[in-house]
Subunit: 232 residues, 2 copies
Amino acid sequence: MAKNFIYLCEMLLSPSQENYLKAIYKLEAREGIATNQALAALVEATPASVTNMLRKLTDAGFAEYEAYQGATLTAAGRNEAVTLVRKHRLWEVFLVEKLQYDWDAVHALAEELEHIGGDELINRLDAFLDHPAYDPHGDPIPNAKGVVRTRQHAIAASDAKEGDVFVVCGVRDSSSLFLQHLDKLNIALGKAYTLKECLEFDRSAVWVEQEGALTNVSNEVAKNVLIQLTDE
Amino acid sequence: MAKNFIYLCEMLLSPSQENYLKAIYKLEAREGIATNQALAALVEATPASVTNMLRKLTDAGFAEYEAYQGATLTAAGRNEAVTLVRKHRLWEVFLVEKLQYDWDAVHALAEELEHIGGDELINRLDAFLDHPAYDPHGDPIPNAKGVVRTRQHAIAASDAKEGDVFVVCGVRDSSSLFLQHLDKLNIALGKAYTLKECLEFDRSAVWVEQEGALTNVSNEVAKNVLIQLTDE
DNA sequence: GCCTTTTTTTAGTCATGGCTAAAAATTTTA
DNA sequence: TAAAATTTTTAGCCATGACTAAAAAAAGGC
Ligand SMILES: [Mn+2]
Ligand SMILES: [Mn+2]
Ligand SMILES: [Mn+2]
Ligand SMILES: [Mn+2]
């Protein structure tokens, strides 16, 4: 009977398991492999809990994992993770576009909403939102087939040279603190700037908006802002 | 530290606890008190599990409960329950109005969505949906203050007399099976009919639409359809 | 008013997903 | 390469919310 149930449900994952898969996915993309410690930090649990969960995910066929080495996702696991990322980002779009939330306030809610429902719900939401390509933080939204369109030519703003013209297209740090700081600097996705000068002393920079307004950007901020260089 | 946490969180309830509160609320409205057995049926658990949970809810101050007697809600518990009902019904409106779900397919999803977020989210959703007064099944949506506007003058269709003119305004049974049956009969909320005749043999009735179409309605169906009588 | 049936509670168990503290393995440093 | 530091695993514990089976209480029938 239990086995029957599993069969019928196509092996459904708990919210906690889903969070782990998403965390492995992120770390794998960033570092190639997900270490126990990094996972513990991402899912906000102890290393002991991570070991425990990794065993379960491995047994269930979603992750591969060698003791002391770290974890990677199987094809099935990657599939789940990409779907989760899709759900998370679509809900973020919904919260910002439709419910008028600020971009720094949606992450926690999306973290809950992403665990609800299946393909039907998320595809309807996707259609309702007109198949958005990016979430409110500029991160690309995987499509229904699980294909992730990677952002073209994005570099960190800290790598721009004097005279460069660019458009802000994303952030490296999606924390509320950083996003609110960008709000204070009046920096938002889609805005165009010219890099007027780089100050050698603290590597801070002066950006000039097309309307002429000046913004002072610390190197710490610039490293976490993603931009696309414009032709001219 | 644990106590501190509780204090900061204003005592937050688990999804399971919330489902129990909602179930007690419903039974209390229907029967005056929620018996162990009825609760077990509603939350789909065993009576033993119910006893267990009732003790917790009582200790936490959300329910009152005397062994062998049944449970009722405290003011705090009723508050939570009404908020849950509000959340459930608003999400149902969203799913039907915005995501084009059929009215028979939204209950299970709303059952999950209702546990997410707090007042902020639900009030924004409410505003986005233009403060709807009723959910897709004709059930009234409590407002942000927890006031439930009760449906005026609604009676079961089985209580209508020959010659009565009425509008369908709700259902007693929100099961997928029943709602799909109404779809097949072409009966929907807001539609107006005249009761042409009641057949003595099986207490079934013939309804006539304003456009002249006839619908044969069994007594079993009529008992589960709510209507408002129209003047003329 | 007793006896049977139904309802509820108790007792004991289990799975999940956390935790801590200690042991073991790995990596870094000297 | 041996000692120190770090990382990971193990062992044991806990809370939650289920379950079953048995005992106890309440309600009905005659
Ligand atoms: Mn999540
Ligand atoms: Mn995002
Ligand atoms: Mn629910
Ligand atoms: Mn409803």
